[in-house]
Amino acid sequence: MTIKKNKKEKLLEILFLFFAFLSNILLVGIIIILFKESLPLFKEIKVLDFLLGRHWYPTYDPPEFGILPLILGSLWVTIGSLLVAVPLGLGAAIYISEIASTNLKEILKPAVEVLAGIPSVVLGFFGMVVIAPFLQNVFKLPTGLNALNASILLGIMAIPTITSISEDCISAVPRGFKEASYALGANRWETMIKVTVPAAFSGISSAVILGMGRAIGETMTVLMVAGGAAIIPHSFLQPVRTMTATIAAEMGETAIGSDHYFALFGIAVVLFILTLIFNIIADLVAQRFRKRIV
């Protein structure tokens, strides 16, 4: 009786263990499928020509599969989004955690959560119907669908990540740090800028890197507002095309097993590796923060 019971218990544990590893299994599955579906392309062209090629003409005869303009497009809008999101997101985090009254906090924190909940397609829509005409008028452009528009929207999307994680990290800085600073005669602002924020720096950096990872992987908003020109960007007022938008726009029209199909999976591999790197760095930095503070 007991032996039977023990066996059942042991079996259940193994079952649970399997499901706990499901995320890892899926991750490996994703890697295998991405590589399997992109490798045939690299029998035709060299990896370096793919990564550093300056022309993306997948439907020309002969086609050209150079994704440098797409990689640069993604990097431009990602960096642009950080220029929007870091000052606003970090400023708001400092304000919410250190200055705002309890009542204001009760309004601001849910507002940031609501912003996080807005679907990306709705933001893209907002970018098309509100921000694009505005940019077109202000800068006298032929179209408001460009890198600047995408940067603004991606910035708005990254703000909740940056604000809420930074706020947690700033709040986690031990009180003793601040009290020591006040005791030395520093005022509240000096304490914040010279003690609290630097103590939370690694946590804040990890928030920024996570926000970056989100921005570079975001599809719908950039697909709708970035303009879609696969050229190497020179200005924020130009239309650009990102890796994600290319996959989303072109996969529907390619034949399975064509070079174009393989190339789009190749882009997904690059994208996957980039976000993986961002995520690993963010994790390492966050660990450093925890070790320092605790």
Binding site: K8, E9, E13, F16, L17, F19, A20, F21, L22, S23, N24, L26, L27, G29, I30, I33, L34, E37, L90, G91, I94, A100, L108, A111, L115, G117, I118, P119, V121, V122, L123, F125, F126, M128, V129, V130, I156, N187, R188, W189, I193, L210, G213, I216, G217, T219, M220, M224, I247, A248, M251, G252, L264, A268, L271, F272, T275, L276, F278, N279
Partner: protein, 290 residues
């Protein structure tokens, strides 16, 4: 004299600093306000009972968005039905069984990296695996599975948190009475964690309902003649519908108006779902005081 001006200067700097960060918070608040204002003020004019319950008409330039709402409902339900049991089982291992730090670390790396995979990559994965390889086609099933995989990390983390909130004494009391580990989990731990798990699941629904990229090639279509009748049917979905209205078709003006309405419906759905999750969380928190 010098001292006083120095102090004044420092105070001025503090004032400017406070102003700057206050301004940052204010700008975020204003951005949210403008966004909601535009969608609400334009969208509300389009929304009516017919808009919510009728099929689209005249090549998407008139009529309602019912099939898109229904399609989003099917896809999110499918995703949760798939991800919730798997997520709970994974969380049970993490909180109840795992003892070795190394195994937990490896599992956590998997969860965290799965969560960071871009949504369009999930879409390609679903296309290659479910649509093409397993021959589910562009269907509710393929889309639900793809979305389900995507929110698995969210569900695992939420379930884990909920399980950890159950006090240790509960488990010890049950074990002391001679119950086995599984009996303890099944009869004591899970029932006490259910509120938190439901909250996590609903938050997952809120995220999935707004996702577009994963269903682009696995489930969604711009127009269907009849409502889906099996899990192998293609569906319209609300987020995809908004995208298609803005990028396809030949009547931008009429389509834009419908897109405003659809955006408002989507925002209300997503925020409503999140609000529901918060209410349920608060209800269980009040009920359970350990």
């Amino acid at each position: 004299m010098l001292n006083i001006s120095n102090r004044k200067w420092r105070e001025l700097k503090q004032q400017i600093g406070f102003m700057t960060v206050r301004l940052a918070a204010l700008i975020i608040f204003i951005i949210l306000g403008i966004l909601l204002y535009f969608i609400f003020s334009r969208g509300i004019k389009v929304i009516s009972w017919d808009f919510l319950t009728k099929m689209p008409e005249k090549g998407m330039t008139a009529g309602g968005i019912f099939p898109a709402i229904l399609g989003s409902f099917y896809l999110t339900m499918g995703a949760i039905l798939f991800a919730l049991p798997l997520g709970i089982l994974a969380a049970i291992y993490m909180t109840e069984y795992a003892t070795q730090g190394k195994i937990i670390r490896i599992i956590r790396i998997g969860i965290s990296n799965l969560a960071s995979v871009p949504s369009i990559v999930f879409g390609l994965f679903g296309l290659a695996l479910f649509v093409n390889y397993l021959k589910f086609g562009v269907s509710i099933l393929s889309g639900s599975l793809t979305l389900g995989i995507m929110i698995l990390p969210v569900i695992i983390r939420a379930s884990e948190e909920a399980l950890l909130l159950v006090p240790h004494g509960f488990r010890e009391a049950s074990l002391a009475l001679g119950a086995t580990k599984w009996q303890t989990i099944y009869k004591i731990v899970l029932p006490n964690a259910i509120g938190g798990i439901i909250t996590g699941a609903i938050l997952g629904v809120g995220r999935v309902a707004g996702e577009t990229a994963p269903i682009l090639f696995t489930a969604a279509t711009f127009y269907i003649r009849k409502l889906p009748d099996s899990v192998f049917s293609e569906v319209m979905a609300l987020p995809y519908h908004i995208y298609a209205l803005m990028t396809e078709g030949s009547h931008p003006k009429e389509q834009k108006a419908i897109a405003y309405g659809a955006s408002l419906v989507l925002i209300i759905m997503v925020l409503g779902i999140n609000l529901l999750a918060i209410l349920i969380r608060n209800y269980y928190r009040r009920k359970k005081k350990w």
